[in-house]
Symmetry: C2
Subunit: 366 residues, 2 copies
Amino acid sequence: MAEPNKTKGTLTIYDVAHHAGVSIASVSRVLNGQGSPRAETRERVMRAVRELSFVPDGAARALSNGLKEVVAVVFRRGGENEFQDEDESLLFMDVINRGVEVAAQRQGFDVLISSVGITDDNVAARIALIAGKVDGLILHDRLLSAVAIARLAGIVPVVTLAGSPTPSSMNVRCDNETGMRALVRHLVIDHGYRSVAYLSGTADSPDNQARARVFEAEATGSGAQVQVGPSWQGNYNAAGGASVITSLLDAGAELPRAIVCANDQTALGVMHALARRGIKVPDEVAVTGFDDVPVARHLHPPLTTVRQPIQELGATAFEVLYARISAAGGAPEVVLPVELIVRQSCGCAGGATLPRRPASIAGHEI
Amino acid sequence: MAEPNKTKGTLTIYDVAHHAGVSIASVSRVLNGQGSPRAETRERVMRAVRELSFVPDGAARALSNGLKEVVAVVFRRGGENEFQDEDESLLFMDVINRGVEVAAQRQGFDVLISSVGITDDNVAARIALIAGKVDGLILHDRLLSAVAIARLAGIVPVVTLAGSPTPSSMNVRCDNETGMRALVRHLVIDHGYRSVAYLSGTADSPDNQARARVFEAEATGSGAQVQVGPSWQGNYNAAGGASVITSLLDAGAELPRAIVCANDQTALGVMHALARRGIKVPDEVAVTGFDDVPVARHLHPPLTTVRQPIQELGATAFEVLYARISAAGGAPEVVLPVELIVRQSCGCAGGATLPRRPASIAGHEI
DNA sequence: TAGGGTCCGGTAAGCGCTTACCGGTAAGCG
DNA sequence: CGCTTACCGGTAAGCGCTTACCGGACCCTA
C-alpha cells in the first residue's frame, strides 16, 4: 500500500486498484463511467489514478473491446526528392488531413498519418500493416488498385478520396464537373475567349480525368477552339506547369487565349513561366486554377479558380468512415459542392468585378 | 479447412493456423521471422495468409510484446477559425511532422498526429490519453507546462521541440542564436543599417524569445539603434505582421531602416502592408524572415532569411525518441545548425546572389 | 541397433484491459 | 423479524498475439 510511483514497470490497473483498495473491475468502471459506482469508490479510484498518474494502455483496451479509436490516412508523398523542396505541394493533402483530424477528434478518435513514397514498392503490404493498427482507413487517390482496395476493405472499413466507391469501400470527392463547367462558361461565354486549353494534372488522377473530360465537352459545346494533346500534360505542380509553357513557347506555338490549369499549383507555375517571357496575365493570356489554395489570392494577379472545400473533404471522409465503424452505416459515395471564385487572372477587373455570376462570391486580399 | 473468407468476425492467427494445418506458434514465427521454420511450413503459412488476406491485429501484438510501433506528435492548431483560412501557417508544423513521419517509417513506426486547439481545455488529459496509445511522444512548443511534461515523461518517453530538456524529457531545436546573430550582423555591419526592429512572434514561444534576446544583444552590441516594445508584437502569422506595420504607420511612427521578422510568414505580412502603403522593399525598408519556408523565394523581392532544417528537425526528434524507446539511449538535447540565406529583401543585389538551388524554378511573384 | 544431439513445432502462459456473472450486504416490506 | 429486491463490487474469462518451454522426430555416431 505504500511503494508508489517508482518508474519501474509501467503501472497497470492492478496497481491502481491496490492503491485505492478496490478491485480492478471498479477501477475500470470508474474510468469508463460504466455501472454505478458508489461515490466513495469513485473518489478513491480517482485519487489513486491522480496520485499515480495512471494512464490506461491503449493496446489493451483496444484488444479488449475491439475498438482502437484510431483511423489512418494514407497518401502519396511528393516524389523524387524526399527531403528537399517538397514545396507547396504539401498544402493540399495536409489540409485534407487536418480536416480528418478535426472531425476525428470530435469522436475521440486519433489519426495515424502515413505517406508512401512514389517509388516505394509493396505499398499494399505496408498499408495492410497499417490497417492492423486502426479501425478504418482513409486513402487518398492513386494509391492502390481497385482490387487492392477491395482486399483491404475486407479487413477494415475503407474510404477513398477522389476515387469511386467499390462494393466494399466508400468514396468522398468534390464536384469537379459542376466546377469545371462553371469555369469554362465564365471564360468562354462571359469573357468570350475563343481558344482555350486544359493543362492537365497527372494522367492517372481521377480528379484530373474528370476535369479534363468536362473541360473538353463544355468548351467544345460552347463553340470554343480547344487545344489538347501531350504537349499540355502537366503533373499538378508548379514546375510541371512552367515547363509545359516553356516548351510550347520554345516550339513557337501560339498560346490560346485562356489556359485552364488542373490545379492552383500548376497555374502558379504557368504564371511564372509567362511572366518570365514577358507575357501579360490576363491581358494576353488568361489563367485559371482549381482548388483555391490559400496562396491563390496572393498571386499576381489574384487567381481565378474553383474552390473546393478541402478541409471539409477530409472531415466528411472521417464522418463517413466513422458511421461505418460504429454501425453498418455510411453512404457509399458523397460528392461535395464546389464554388467558382472569380478573381483577376481570368480577365475580370480588380476589386469591383463580380456581378456576372451572382452565386459565387469572391474572396479578396491577403 | 474449407470455409474461407466470409466477412464474418475478423480472422485471427488461429484461422490461419487451421487453414494451413499448423499451430498458431508457427504462424506467428513465420510472420515475424523468428525461429527457423522449415521451408514447407513457411510456405504453407504464407499461402494461408495470402489466401485469407490475413493481417495481424496491431493491438494484440502491441499488448503482447510491449511495443506499439507508433509515436505521436502533438501540436497547437491555429486558433480562432478552426476551419477557414488556416493559411500558410500550416506549412511549418506540417513540414516538421513530415520529417517525423519519414524518419519513423525507416524504423517501421507509424505516426499519430494530433493537434490541440488553442482554446481546448484539459489539454494535459487529452495528451495523456494519447500517450496510452503510443510508445513515445513528440511535443511541439507551447503545449504544456514543464511539470505536465515531466508527468507525461513518466509514462512514455517524451521529446519536445524548440523547448528545453527536463530531467525526464529530451529536446530538439534549431540554433536560433547563431542564425539571428549572423542575420543582424549582415544587416548592421554589411549593409550598415543604423536602425533596426524585431517584429516578434507569439510572446510565449521559446524560439521567439531566443531570437528576440539575441537580436537585441547583437544589434545593440553593433551600435545600431533598436526599436522594441509592445507595438512590435506580432504573432507568427502574416496578418499579425501586417497589422503591426499598419498601426505603426497610422500612428505616424517612423519605420526603422530594417525590420527583422520573427518568421517568414510575418515577413510576408509586413511586405504586403508596406507594399500597400507604397513603401519600397528593400530600398526604403529592408525586411528579413526566419525559417526559409518554400514561398520565401517566391516573394517580391525574394526574402532574405535564416534557413532552418525544418524537416530534419522532425526527423531528428524521432530519432532521439526512438533511441530512447529501443534502449535507454537518446541525447537529452540536440541543437541543429541553421544557415543564413541572403536574397534580396535585405538590400543585396538581384540574381547574382543565389547559386544555391538551381533546380527550383527560380521564382518571383507574391 | 541403441544413445545422444539437433531441430521443429505444439502447448500454454501471459500482456493489460473490459465485462458477464455472481455473491454479499443493505434496504424495503409484510 | 425474516424474506425479497436492489445494488455494488469482486472474480474470472477472454480479446489476439508472442514466446518460453518441452516433447517428438530425425540423424548421426559408435
